[in-house]
Amino acid sequence: MMSHNAFMLVLLTLGGPVVASDGEPPKTVRIRAYPPVIELFAANDSKRFIVLAEFADGTTREVTNDITLSFGNNPPVKIDRNFVVHAVHDGEGELRITFGDHKLKLPVKVRGAKTTPAISFQNDVIPVLTRAGCNAGTCHGNSAGKNGFRLSLFGFNMDNDHTALTREMRGRRSNTADPDASLILTKPLRQVSHKGGRRFHKDSEQHHVLRRWIEEGAKSDVGKAAKLTKVEVLPRQVVLVGAKKTQRFMVQASYSDGTRRDVTDLSLLSSNNAATAKIAEDGVVTSGERGEAFVLARFGGIAEVAQVLVVPDDPNFKFPDIAPANYIDKAIFDKQRRMRIAPVEVCDDSTFLRRVYLDVINLLPTPEEARSFLDNKDKAKRSKLVDHLLKRPEFPDVQAMQWAEVLRIESRRLERKGMHVYTEYLRDAFRDDVPFDKLVRSLLVAKGSNFRNAAANFYMTQRQPNLMAEDVAQNFLGIRVQCAQCHNHPFERWSMDDYYGFSAFFARVGRKRGEHPYEYIIYPRTSGEIKNRRNNQNAPPAFLGGVQPTIAREEDRRAVLAKWLTSAENPWFKTSVANRIWARFFGRGIVEPADDVRVSNPPSHPGLYQTLGGKLVDYKFDVRQLIRDICASRTYQLATAKGKSPPGTFAEATTRRLTAEQMLDAISQVTGVAERYRNLPSGARATQVEDGDSRNRFLNVFGRPMRTSACTCDRRTDPTLGQALHLINGQTISRRIRDGNGRLQKLIRAKAKPLALLEELFLATYSRRPTNEETVRLLATIPEDTQKAAQAFEDILWALLNSKEFLFNH
């Protein structure tokens, strides 16, 4: 995966700042053929190939139909009209491809042209069933099967599948004596009743494969046949210009015996953004609106993607001449340039001020702070502000809250004391600049009383080893392995062995009662295993990816895990932590959602994704430094542009509804009337609420998570009717506006002048001064009479608090 990303990065940088300025068709830089070598391994073997032209402006076009082809002497292959290469005899040769001025030699190798190998159950039959959808979760791949016929999901357990096909139903499913009477043939042809309908035709390749397999004795070669080692989607990256352009893709599978097959027809193909790139069953992508899409091919338990960029047909596009502030901008600009999107302007000071306050410390700037920042003429004031905010005591609270959410700190499982000391522990760690990897290690190896050693509460939130492993993978690696509990992950590489191997690290966590009725002692045990449900054997501890470390009996398995997990070499930890931080500041991760890293959900900026992770390692996991970089980037400081650019290009700032805590704290701040929280001292902020169930209606309505799962998706920001009513009619705002000790009433009592009062309210809510137009129009509504004027100001404050400018972080 890393090499893949690195490769894409190279491509991106090769795209370079070449700009076609005069409207002429761009110059072809080179042509490439996919696959780079055509190899055929059997008499019935065939391969297709694709020729891609790359242009000077970084765009690409498939030119397979426009090339001229020639062979050397006695070519070992023949080519049909669809550019499919068939074997003729053994030997080597080359295909000479000409496109305009560009020439390319495509080597061709043929082996075993005289032989037709037997149908492999593992490598032929199962892929046919998968492609036809037979073993999908909605069909026979369901854990309960369908209508008595049960296959493993996407063929992860082929032995069982073979039994199901040949032994069950008294062998009626595959009748070697009379192959055409086999149910596995008659059902998908719909010769007999089949609820799943017709899956393929009698003259289709799929049918022939199944029929030949039965003819040949319906044998299983599971474990004996060559193993699938790699799947590639070719070409790996294309840049299509304009809509309705087509591009063929092919899927190539490599096996352990060195053979390679074209499995485009046997793969499951899909696109993550059909509006930009739609993929048909035969691998042809049609471009749509501007944007980025990844086409996903799944074959034999492996998923791979290729990137499709669709850029507008605008040869005159010129990327603005702006200097990147740091490495973040460079990576972001590169992609924007390729996608022919210009980033919007940098936002004004007040927007930046409000945004950075909310993102770093979950609070609005006070009018005084706003004034002093806006009036400050220092050119470096933005970076100084960030430095200042990172030192504020609210910063650790925000960080602790974010992690507390996914670490499930709540009183139902932890009891009040445990919950409190655990939260304090996280806050202290962020306050005292404990490197994040060290913090994670301290949690993973925690032992002792959960009252006296707060980190031990980490093991109080989950008691089953496998659930603990799920949480750890999702929280610290961004990987969701849950699916692999019952079957191999359908969109990822994670198998059941990975799942139970990873769970085994937590199989020896002992818990016993302490002296207090709610106190527990966490201790490492020297025994305890977890059974792999695939084979009912004890799973040996293995890192994700399959490496099994050697662990002595007395050694704490968790310590071994903690070392691997937080090491700089671990490709997931650093990147996923960095990505989480990024996501907080942009409202969207480079991998989105930030806790769902998988092949089928690739990063929008693979290079930057790796760089951010690398930076975090360089900074010794000091999150403050990474935040400094992010806030310093021009990309973070962009203005909003009402969604004119596709998401994930970061060409404009995303408007984000204030989170529940931000909103309630902001309302309290603006109105000057604090909220009371259960079990917290007065003056506490919503960010400091320690329990999952805050028992606060406002926070619940606005989607504060209950902390019952490790998923970031538990925090909801979607609008609901309840939220609107709460703001418009609810007590939360109206009570505060009228509160005698509130900001407004105090100002009125102090007989502040209307203009000053207006400015104060605008600075408190929007962190900016009112515009002239706003001033004129609002002052006109204020009557002379003092009492009525007070009423009018109450209305103004209510309106400000209900405005989009207040409710959104923009």
Partner: protein, 964 residues
Amino acid sequence: MFSNLLTTWVVLLAGSVSATHPTVSSIVPRGGKRGTEVKLTIYGARLSNIVGLVLVREGIEVIEVKKDRANRAYVTIRIAKNCPLGAHQVLVRTERGLSNLHLFMVGTLPEVKETEPNNDASTAQKVPLDVTINGRIVAEDLDVFVIDVKKGQRINFEVHGLRLGGREFDAHMTIRDDRGAKLAMVDDTIFGHMDPLASLTCKRAGKWFITLRENARGGTNDSFYRLHVGTFPRPLVAFPAGGKPGTKFKARLIGGGEAFDAEIQLPKTSGLHKYFVTTKQGTTPSPIQVVATDKPNAMEGSLTKMPAASEVSSWWMIGPFANRDAKGRDIGHRTAYPPEKKLDLKTEYDGRDGKVKWAIQSSLRDNVTHDLRKLIKKTDHCVVYLAKKVEAETARRVLLLFSGDDTVKIWCNGKQLLDDAKVSGIVASQHRLFIDLAKGKNELLIKISNRGGTFGFHCRLLDPLRLRGYGLLQVPSALNGVISKPNEQDRYVFHARRGQQLDFQVVSRRLRSPLDPVIGVSCSHERFYAGNDDTRGLGMDSLLRFRAPFTGEFVMTVRDMLLTAGPGHVYRIEVAKPEARTLATRVSQPGYQYEYTANVPQGGRDAVMIAASNLDQNAGVQLSFANLPKGVKAHIPVFTPGITSIPVVFEAAADAPQSGNLLKVEAKATKKKIDLSKMRHVQTIDIVQARNRQRYLTTSVDRLPLAVCKRSPFTLDAATIKVPLVRNSPLQVAFEIKRVTGYKDSVRVRMLYNPPGISSNQVTVPANKTKGVLNLYANNGARVGVHKIVLVGMGNVQGAPITSSSKILDLQVAVPWMTASIGTVRTDPGKNIVLPITFTAPKEFAGKVEAQWIGMPRGIVCAALKLERKTAKIDLPVTITKNAPPGRHRGFRLRLKVQTDQGWIVQDFRSGEIRIDRPRPKPVTPKKAQPKKPQPKKTPAKKAQTKKPPPKKAATKKAAARKG
């Protein structure tokens, strides 16, 4: 055992207490200095008639009691100069009885009151050193104190918060210097549970700020604390942690600064004791824990070490000799060849295949199965000898594990130890022989005879002294040790005979040592292990009851659960034979678990339940009270077999003076001669409960608190129960309420407790009535015999409940005099039947029998049942009217009243069934083309009739069969 504080008021407010006694929520201040007078303010409910205090320990004297309001009262006490230090258990007594228990701390330091505001450093309250601050932390409160410190001074800080009892209060302490540097931040400690402690040495003269808060800044109006600050000594644990009762022992006191030596005087009683350490600097504010036991002290470092192991030579071997004679008989095993006559390693002998001589075989190692066919040619029908020299430093017993193929003889120093003529293969540890080695050289000789096939042996010689350096543990002893290095495991060796039982009890966390002990006993040469981490009732401490699987040396291991260590990780392991447990009693009111006092009204009665544990069932234990107050009588039944808790009724004369007492409980065995002098009364009372009323800290009282209080406005008298209660039958107990004039309130009457198998109801006697009956019912499992029961009446005085009990009544449970078994019959609606009933009369009686149906459904009318003792069977005609409901009727009972010389005895029998079948629905007429015509309607009806008979016949046949 150790912890002593309480909080029942939470519970009392929850309404589970039955009497009108007062409830106390807090006593302020929570402690006082020795030799001073303290004015206490008592908060609670129903305090307006306060009379005084009942103090469990000596040393505090009540000077003045001042009534104020129902929820507040004042008491002035004088704490004697020699008053015992620490927690004093206090109950408040009013005219109506005793309150729940509270703790009052007695200390040596001057007392200071916290004054608000003191919420930050600028308003910090200045206090001198060596004081006790009485304070309170309400919600969001911070209490800041400032002290002056000198360079080099060692200052100790101790908070008494949770340990004062009451609501669960989690104090948190931070100490900063005048530059704001954090010197200490303490939340929970092992020594103080949730109470923080700290010990700091001052490096620079200046001011120190002590900030106290509730951990999560909670705190309530009841969150009181006592903060002790000063240069007083604050050791946390003693090493060794104990000695023999009544003796002085030297101990090193660890924690709270430099460790120092002191001499500790133990009380005369065995068990865990509190000890206040006093030095020139002062006295500790709270005690350390020490143990007094009869076992001799053994110290980790000074045990006899196991000496060196024996020197063992390699195997010498000689052979082969012949095993088969000329006739083909196996004679080798019984033929004594020269080597077994005299062991001489130098001489040559005549072997089977010529001359043989002894040769050293260094390849024959221990604990390996050896195939001798590799060393000797032609191993069929041969005999070989193996010899070993063992040099022992001391005379000792070693273990030989041996197995040979085929037959084996073993000698040591010429003495034959084994003669195994049974042909067998090699099984490791087949023979287990203990060999007593003499000091010096020893000779071990083994003879193996082979018939054919495999030929070899497996041998291990286990000298326990391989465990060289391990301390040798004597039984009984009290071993004292420290786990001072991380990952350290302390190992000891002890000898046990096969089947011998030993108890290893670790006292560690009960000493408030940070060590969480795990104890294990293993045997080094076999897969045997027994261990214990925590034992219920001992907190985090371990108790291992070990039964030796064989005679030999065993290794005992002790370590910390988390392998942590430190100078204060002290343990004390009591090793002894399991001791018989002493009888212990406690008040245990079923359904009223927080009720442990007796409040006897003048001229009235009060009842409590007393439960016994470790009771000898056949001893016939009779309890008594040594110090009953004047005019009070106690009615105490005997603990008969099967009974572990008894009702005790206290009865006060009308002129008995009001008083508060602590009754000493004594016991005597009436049937068996057993010593009950060590009998104890242990009332464990929660002083702090965690959420959901879970027990956290407790205190215990060794006497039964009893108050003679003001005359009750009513008395309850129950009539003697003359008639037995028959199993599966009801019985009514009549009672009478006598109210004093002017008392107009209803009284609810219930059983004090229900004996097993007996249930009862509750009856409310309205204000205008005096008499009532309580219904008892015995199920089929109720024990036959006499049960002691008590009725309790509960009235109301000014909104508070007040109880009065009856005398102890004898309730006899019996089996029936005459039994009835009712048959099962079936019928149709409107069709009369005959119900068969059979009778037996297991017991003699002369009187009449009356029968009565109870719960017979309407429409079923039974003929009159005329019975006498000899009646064996009656076929009772039963009229089934048309409106008798169809269905299976099984709910009715036949009540037989038997007239005996004790009276009419009620017996219920609930068996039998009357089944009335629902009439078959008429088949639905299929709608025909001409529905208006009346004629077709008849035919289906007929059809239905014709269809019916077959099932009917079957049913009647079945019924007939049943009858037959």
